[in-house]
């Protein structure tokens, strides 16, 4: 079986030693200890495992690691730069767009892919762009708000003082 020996993750070249057929999610979480990407279903149905591969949103749970080798992989851990949160991370806090937050990494990664294609999406475009991601706690409106905040279309959630 073909082996994968290195991956480009969040701008760094990282050594691994895994079969190419193992899921990218498993390698990120178990081999590289990048646990921000989550297992929610293993079937590409919930979006909790979403990462970017060469900028494209990808369900890492159903992506064989061999298909990601040699490409640029971005995970939630790669969004914060020099201690500064990504605008989407800031906006999710501002809009209180989470409860248990298990879906949050996948939501933010899907949203970042959406905004790179469409920097000012309207609500309908956000809903259709994000529909593959499940928030079982049901914070959908707040996530839509957060994406609008991050894209500069509104200034923030009402009444959050802290």
């Amino acid at each position: 079986m073909a082996k994968v020996t290195s991956l480009n993750v969040n701008g760094k070249r990282l050594a691994v030693d895994v079969d190419s057929t193992v899921s990218l999610l498993t390698v990120l979480r178990n081999d590289l200890d990048l646990t921000g990407s989550k297992y929610g279903c293993g079937e590409g149905q919930c979006g909790a495992c979403t990462v970017l591969i060469d900028g494209a949103p990808t369900r890492s749970c159903i992506t064989q690691v061999g298909r990601a080798a040699g490409k640029q992989i971005t995970t939630i851990e790669g969004l914060e730069k020099d201690g500064k949160l990504h605008p989407l991370q800031e906006a999710f806090i501002k809009a209180d767009a989470m409860q248990c937050a298990y879906c949050t990494s996948g939501m933010i990664m899907s949203a970042s892919a959406l905004l790179s294609k469409n920097p000012k999406p309207n609500r309908e475009e956000i809903v259709s762009g994000m529909n593959g991601n499940v928030c079982r706690c049901g914070t959908y409106q707040r996530i839509v708000d957060a994406i609008q905040i991050a894209s500069g279309q509104t200034t923030g959630a009402k009444g959050v003082t802290r």
Binding site: G42, E43, D96, A101, V127, R142
Partner: protein, 732 residues
């Protein structure tokens, strides 16, 4: 049983919530605390129910080793840096109780919110707690912590006064600083705690700050450690990694209730690094990585013998039959029914219109996005398990029992968890991981697959509800006979003034394993009741809001009804063609709710069977009152979330089963609400600063289903009496 129910203080217990005695025998003495916490001051919070008995024993605080109270709710440690560490057995599962409780402590102690740190759900560090369920954290734990913080504040002021050589009455505490009247003398909290070795039991007669005087609580506050979550840094159980950790996988039976005939592990045993564990019907594997564990488990050949078992088609006939033996019925809880009042027959005789209808609810799954997970580690005879559970102490008991070890040899740690909704009261995964770790002699992580979570967890009970009623043409309801089969008693009591009523809960043999769920039976009982009320209003041609107000005297319920109706514009405009309006209201666990919904009948999407129509929920207005609001932002978030979650059970969620198998154990076949199912939501908070806060994690879920069913009737004239209402779309 009766005693336990009394202790639960009116919440609905079910079989998953009751197998551990709440009486915790706590034998720490003051020296143990000093050893555990180091320098600073520890305040012990006796349990609410124990306070009365301890009156007089009180607090001496002179460093003696006298016995501390047996029942303790929490302790608070003020360390030498002025940090406030609060220890509670409650857990965080997304309901944001970490934020709520931190707000309460900061508010009462007059310290900055970010100086408060909660240690939660760790059976070695936190006092016994029954579990995080029943919407009890806000009404019971928050006031307990406030009492502790208030007592701590007064004691600390006295200590600071002594240090500053001023009268205690001259000092106040602002932002963790003690100030005298002209601010000429000040001390920080850290300066007071420095070098101390004190353990104090708080007195029970301390007054806590009333909601109207709250300064930190009562204001909107975002999730307290949100940054940890948006960066992916928070470690849920499934993210925990231990030195030398292996991965586990369980071989599951072919069906429920299957017995093991034979097992052949030879092929799996030959795989490198794989260990097979068989123990009775338990079959599991341990391997150096997840893929090897899965491969080995798949290579084990097992022959199971399965008894014939019921299927969906016969469910409701089955539930009408009385329970035999140990039923597993969700029924008994919540006090069930009540003593009948008046005479049903007299009420029917007095009625102008009589109505008799049956309503049903399907089994549904919690489907928490983080499935059950556990990491187990044995050090000698001591077992430590990280797991996502709403009952860390209950899981500790399960582990102690499973391994025949004393509970004090078991430590259960619950990291903030990827949701529960009442679905994580049990410790199956913890027990499995611990069994594997014991065999492997190394730490083992076990994460259930989505399919396992959908199959081997437990479900919200299905139920059948029969209602017989009568109404006069002037809108007076004369009689109310209500039978709930299997789904349970929560939310079954009526707030309608009906002189003749008979409300009963019946237990059945549930064909599936069932247990708690957000709101439990309150959704079923509200769906049936509020649909039926709508039918009565229609029968006498009266407006649905007017009819409710005519029969409800309770001001708190009237207030939310009127608040929701006003925001919605009820009675102002007619729905557009193909749209419908519906309203529903109710009461449960100290919370009052009214929900108005607008739905639209639209062409089918890819989720409906053509030519059925799609029912889209366009707009929901929900008014909610649960006493004084601790955190308006999180209360709104909870209500919005409950509405979105309720959409699933209302419109399309249903566990399909046949002959001991779940037929739809995947998100592709078990549909959950998504972005495009979510309506415009407006939340109206009725803040009653004069009423103690109740919990709010559950009750906001109960209003949606009946409001939507009533709106569908309004739009189409079709009365749907089964949840889910339109799993394949609306047949028109």
């Amino acid at each position: 049983m009766i005693e336990e129910q009394t202790l639960l203080d009116g919440i609905e217990p079910d079989r998953y919530e009751l197998f551990e005695s709440p009486n915790y025998h706590f034998y720490f003495d003051r020296r143990d605390f000093i050893k555990a916490f180091g320098l600073g001051i520890v305040f012990i919070v006796p349990a609410a129910r124990a306070l009365a008995q301890q009156r007089g024993q009180g607090e001496s605080g002179r460093g003696g080793n006298e016995r501390l109270p047996n029942n303790i709710d929490a302790w608070i440690h003020i360390n030498e840096n002025g940090g406030v560490n609060v220890f509670t057995g409650k857990v965080e599962v997304g309901q944001n109780t970490r934020t709520t409780l931190s707000l309460s402590v900061a508010d009462e102690l007059h310290v900055p919110l970010d100086s408060v740190h909660l240690v939660m759900g760790d059976t070695d560090l936190t006092p016994f707690d029954m579990g995080t369920f029943g919407s009890r954290s806000t009404p019971t734990m928050a006031p307990q912590l406030r009492k502790a913080a208030a007592a701590a504040r007064e004691i600390l002021i006295a200590m600071a006064a002594e240090q500053l050589q001023v009268a205690p009455g001259d000092l106040r505490i602002v932002d963790a600083r003690f100030l005298n009247h002209d601010k000429s003398k000040t001390l920080t909290l850290a300066e007071v705690a420095k070098g101390r070795k004190l353990v104090k039991v708080i007195p029970d007669d301390i007054a806590i700050t009333q909601p109207k005087d709250w300064t930190i609580a009562g204001t909107s506050t975002a999730k307290i450690d949100a940054k940890n979550f948006v960066t992916g840094k928070h470690r849920y159980t499934s993210d925990v990694k231990r030195e030398g950790m292996l991965y586990g996988k369980i071989v599951r039976p072919a069906t429920f209730n299957a017995s093991l005939v034979s097992v052949d592990t030879k092929a799996a045993e030959a795989m490198p690094g794989v260990k097979i564990v068989t123990d009775g019907t338990f079959i599991g594997v341990v391997a150096p990585d997840q893929q090897a564990a899965t491969k080995a488990a798949n290579a084990i050949a097992v022959d199971w013998k399965s008894p014939g078992q019921p299927s969906n088609a016969e469910l409701f006939d089955l539930l009408r039959k009385p329970a035999t033996g140990q039923s597993g019925g969700g029924g008994e809880g919540g006090g069930g029914g009540s003593r009948p009042q008046g005479s049903i027959a007299d009420g029917l005789a007095a009625a102008d219109k009589k109505l008799e209808q049956t309503y049903t609810v399907a089994y549904i799954a919690h489907a928490p996005l983080e499935p059950r997970a556990a990491v187990a580690e044995w050090n000698g005879d001591k077992l430590t398990v990280w797991t996502g559970s709403q009952r860390p102490f209950g899981v500790r008991s399960e582990l102690a029992e499973a391994f025949h070890i004393p509970p004090d040899k078991v430590r259960v740690i619950v990291p903030d968890t990827g949701s529960g909704y009442g679905g994580k009261h049990t410790g199956e995964c913890a027990v499995e991981a611990a069994r594997l770790a014991k065999a492997a002699g190394k730490p083992v992580k076990l994460v259930w697959t989505r399919e396992e979570e959908f199959t081997w967890a437990y479900f919200r009970p299905a139920g059948v509800i029969d209602i017989k009623s009568g109404v006069k043409n002037d809108g007076t309801i004369t009689t109310w006979e209500f039978h709930n089969y299997n789904s349970g008693g929560s939310g079954i009591q009526i707030k309608y003034e009906i002189p003749n009523n008979d409300i009963r809960v019946h237990q059945s043999n549930s064909p599936l394993r069932q247990g708690s769920y957000r709101g439990l039976a309150a959704t079923a009982n509200h769906f049936a009741r509020e649909s039926h009320i709508d039918e009565l209003a229609h029968a006498i041609n009266m407006d649905a809001l007017e009819f409710r107000l005519k029969n409800i005297k309770d001001d708190r319920l009237r207030d939310v009804l009127q608040a929701a109706a006003k925001s919605f514009g009820w009675g102002k405009a007619k729905p557009a063609s193909g749209h419908g309006f519906g309203i529903a209201c109710g009461f449960e666990k100290g919370g009052y709710i009214a929900t108005c919904a607008e739905i639209a009948i639209e062409p089918p999407s890819d989720k409906e069977d053509k030519p059925n129509k799609r029912v889209r929920i366009v707009r929901v207005v929900e008014a909610f009152e649960c006493g004084a609001v601790v955190n308006p932002l999180h209360l709104k978030n909870q209500i919005e979330g409950a509405i979105n979650m309720a959409i699933g059970g209302a419109l399309f969620e249903s566990v399909q089963f046949e002959n001991g198998k779940i037929l739809n154990p995947h998100f592709a076949s078990y549909r959950v609400p998504r972005f495009n199912d979510s309506p415009q939501i407006e939340v109206v908070l009725v803040d009653r600063k004069d009423i103690p806060s109740a919990g709010a994690g559950e009750t906001p879920i109960v209003g949606l289903a009946p409001a939507v069913a009533n709106a569908i009737f309004n739009a189409t004239g079709v009365r749907l009496r089964a949840l889910p209402l339109v799993p394949k779309g609306l047949t028109v």
